[in-house]
Amino acid sequence: MKADHRKKIGVFICHCGINIAGVVDVNKAREEIGRYPGVVHSEDYIYMCSDPGQNFVKEAIKEKKLDAVVIACCSPTLHETTFRRTVESVGMNPYQCEIANIREQCSWVHEDKKAATDKAMKITESVIEKLVLNESLFPVTVPVTRRALVIGGGIAGIQAALDIANAGYEVLLVEREPSIGGHMIQLSETFPTLDCAQCILTPRMVEVGHHPKVKLLTYSEIQEVSGYVGNFKVKILRKPRYVIEDKCNLCGECEKVCPIAAPCSFEGNLKVRKAIYIPFPQAIPATYTIDADKCPGFLPIACGKCAEVCEPKAIDFDMKLEIIEEEVGSIVVATGYELYPPKMIGEYGGGKYEDVIDGLQFERILSASGPTNGEVRRLSDGKVPKRVVFVSCVGSRDPENHFPYCSKICCMYTAKHAMLYKHRVPDGEAIVFYIDIRAGGKRYEEFVTRAQEEDKVLYIRGKVSKIFKDGDELVVMGADTLSGKQVEIRCDLVVLSMAMTPSKRIEETVKKLKIQMDEHGFLQEAHPKLRPVETLTAGFYLAGAGQAPKDIPDAVAQASGAASKVLDMFSKDELEHLPIVATVDEDLCSGCGVCVPLCPYEARVMEIRDGRKIAAVNEILCEGCGSCVSACPSGASQQRNLKDDQIINVVEVMLTDGKGEF
């Protein structure tokens, strides 16, 4: 017992119903803690977090003129903010309020009432000993640049950009491909309403493309992000498209004379394009692009046939790679997904047989603007397939070989594919292999039922083991687990519902952004339930399938959520940052610099002051992890309100009996 008597401390013990009081003798704890040096007030109540409970705290602070309070209750992750606000409302500095966690760390994990009561008191006493050395702290403030960056021009990025721009703030929308639109613009029709994807997306694309507050940077990539929340500096690499966007009038003469052909990735490689191309007619920006990897024209005066025929003189072989620098206050990451390549599933013949295709390729075949103008035909011989097998969960829900997670949208789009196929080929037969049907969503279950009942799609519950070619047919071997029989189906076309994976180059981008990824490479949200659009790095927000597989409504909703977080930030004049950050005692710092590479937030920098090197902390970047503090060999680095002597106090209380003996 050595509490500093300079502070008058109040202790409030919560019963949390029977969560705490069922195990801890709260009366005894209150009485004994009341006698602890420095404690001038102790109280218990059934729910301290309730309004009456908080009022007790306020009243006691006012009446007893308390300098600091300890609330012994649940984890600080739950109610620390509640009680800090409570004490602040009656004029106490919020950092003079500390939580003693006697629920998660005591009552919930013990049964012996006496021992638990002793432990609850120990925990409370240790917090008192820390609290007596607490300083009053004030938030670190920082100005905010009211301008946002959205990375990724798919539906999620477009939605986030529009929401922010419509609220009156400038947005930079950066897209890697020549046009915005993402995967959604490749889709034929969308479930469960079967409205055409292009018809509903192109208005949004046009809106974002012409929005006065949106600066659209297509064919561009993020090169570097520095700075911190509210004050990011971004370097954006603009790849040359060798066609001047504003001059190109889409006449298409260049394409006719271009001597180089290449597979068109927008069309799922089902179509061939030229080295100068436009991915699809409604592309935004509406311009041709030269595929520099394929074009021979970059050597002086080689080829150049496109430039010869281009009437508006839009082709410029001298265009250079450009790096532009922009300042933004917050960043929405909407990097999207890719399909797991069918060639990864050797036993299904993906990548080997032309008539085993993935879901996005089938979307293109179904699409009215696709390579077959919406007519369902197969690639090998152009025939209309009379029996099509759809295989769901390919790569998904397969922890041994591929991915353990569910790709979420495949059940729905497989039902859609089968349904659309039956609409186009009424005498055809559609067969779906499934593990189970996950149709959770508004009108989703009804949609699948409609495919089964109205469109007579045959659903077989079971996995496909092998797909091989026999003559011009494909043979699908699998199990029907409902009848317990092996099945062998001859068909003309197989559509694999490949797992959704994060966009391939996401890893490079994520490293530049310093945000977290999960074990599968999806972007990591700050909290799976309560902070689904934030990241652990302040200023970065998530939208779309880059965070987890999701369908269009979910991506749009998350994008609007991310946008609202950005707008929340932009609504303030200054941003506040928690003051629990590292500090450096300049007299003690030897300038060794060991802290600098340890800091995961790049908040530690070496500075020269009075001719000698010392470490400094950028308080805005510091997240208070304490790595630098524990590494500092001279004890110069301390964390505010978690100083070495405070931690030693806590440890001492925990390890000694009531008389100070170990």
């Binding site: 490689n269 061939v272 394009r273 005066i301 080829c303 390579p371």
Partner: protein
């Protein structure tokens, strides 16, 4: 690779006046389609003139003709034919 559509691309025919060549190798070095190589044979001046190693790949871009200091090589359009993409 198979595709649903077909596009045609030009195929060039390369003409070489071997005895004009002085073996500088510009045409071989700069051909964007890597169509040419230096041959083993000697011309009357004692140089190795270029040889067409892969006639189907020439796209009649005309770069060799532009570069040749001796006006010894040029291409003409042979035909327009369906593009073939390997892989």
């Amino acid at each position: 690779m198979k595709f649903f559509n077909k596009v045609t691309v030009p195929v060039g025919e390369i003409h070489i006046i071997k005895d004009r060549c002085k073996g500088c190798g510009f045409c071989v070095e700069y051909c964007p389609r890597d169509v040419l190589e230096l041959s083993d044979e000697f011309n009357t001046k004692g140089y190795h003139p270029p040889r067409v190693k892969d006639p189907g790949r020439c796209i009649n871009c005309g770069l060799c003709e532009m570069l040749c200091p001796e006006f010894a090589i040029w291409s003409t359009l042979k035909e327009e034919r369906e593009a073939v993409i390997e892989g």
